[in-house]
Symmetry: C2
Subunit: 212 residues, 2 copies
């Protein structure tokens, strides 16, 4: 399973990557009950160690979530790059990028929430300002990819691209966030809504090359 430090010994946790095990267990518990409902004691019990022992592997409860969040967003980045390198018109690639973004948010609601919906003060405080928080880095990275894609598609001045990129990001985020935060709202068919939303966002760029 793990290629790291498996030297054969197993007693007392040696040989198994405890940190990795904790992350896996936490991920499963988060998916099952929702991140906010899972306590460090639950995680520790599921792992089979005491609650304070978690702090030998992580500096804080938040660090566990942050690490998982970072990994999840790495997956989004990989998927995004694949989309951007795939064949198709610039508009289609951009459309699929938006689609991948929304799908990611809906597939990892807790991670998306942590990255873009929670106030940084709740989770970290100094780290954010220092730019050292992995969650922030993950979120920023995801946006940067989208901005690059838009820049390629438009080829306009930097300032204009930044403005439009932020506006488009807001629109895509809006649907993702609302579907996550208000799943019980009487939404129209989700698939139709997403398709319409992305189409509306892409609409101004259907003939972008000609109009600009």
């Amino acid at each position: 399973m793990n290629t790291a430090g498996a030297h054969g010994a197993e007693k007392r946790g040696r040989g198994i990557d405890r940190r990795e095990q904790i992350l896996q267990v936490a991920l499963q518990l988060f998916a099952q009950h929702g991140m906010a409902q899972v306590s460090t004691r639950q995680i520790a019990r599921a792992v089979g160690i005491s609650q304070p022992s978690l702090y030998a592997h992580f500096a804080s409860a938040h660090e566990i979530s942050a690490e998982l969040c970072l990994r999840a967003f790495a997956g989004l980045s990989a998927a995004s790059r694949k989309v951007l390198e795939a064949p198709g018109t610039a508009r289609d690639r951009f459309y699929r990028l938006g689609r991948a973004y929304i799908d990611f948010g809906l597939a990892h609601p807790d991670m998306y929430r942590l990255a873009f919906m929670q106030e940084p003060d709740e989770t970290v405080s100094q780290l954010v300002q220092q730019g050292k928080d992995p969650v922030m880095a993950a979120g920023q990275g995801a946006f940067d990819l989208a901005r690059q894609a838009l820049a390629q598609m438009l080829g306009r001045t930097e300032a204009e691209v930044e403005l439009q990129a932020q506006s488009i990001w807001a629109s895509v985020h809006g649907l993702t966030a609302l579907l996550i935060a208000r799943p019980m709202f009487p939404w129209v068919d989700r698939e139709r809504l997403i398709e319409h939303h992305l189409a509306a966002i892409c609409a101004p760029y259907e003939t972008a090359a000609a109009s600009g």
Copy 2:
């Protein structure tokens, strides 16, 4: 100030509307330190009573936030109605409605967060399903107003209106929510961003009457 039970006596809190006083104090503390950072003990201390005494006036800590949220959204509804009744083209009224919505969110970030960004499970659970939660009612009410405005502007089939209303709401929410959740992000000039965002949303409807 209050028309309720002010009989003249003041000792032991009689004569002053404690519930109202708690709400005012809580509102100020929320504005000062952020809702998540304010505890029931802080509120009680600021009011001058013990922490358990709060429960004589509110069933839970959430009820305090919910009441304040309800009042804030009542303000949004009033402002929205004013916009809708004001003169101007349908497009302009719709634009100003979006503007009022965003401005409201930025002016009352905690209330907006409570209504649209927090997961209902965190705050209430059964209440939501029963439709009795004032926060949910407030949020729903705000959206309903916008939907009506769009219906007036478009005059299309109900299903189409619902689809477009939800998509537009998502876009407007997206910018509001991101500006609230990530104030430190390197945004372009906020005013320019909001104007551009609303313009982009309204763009398809500039010649709506002709194209439909």
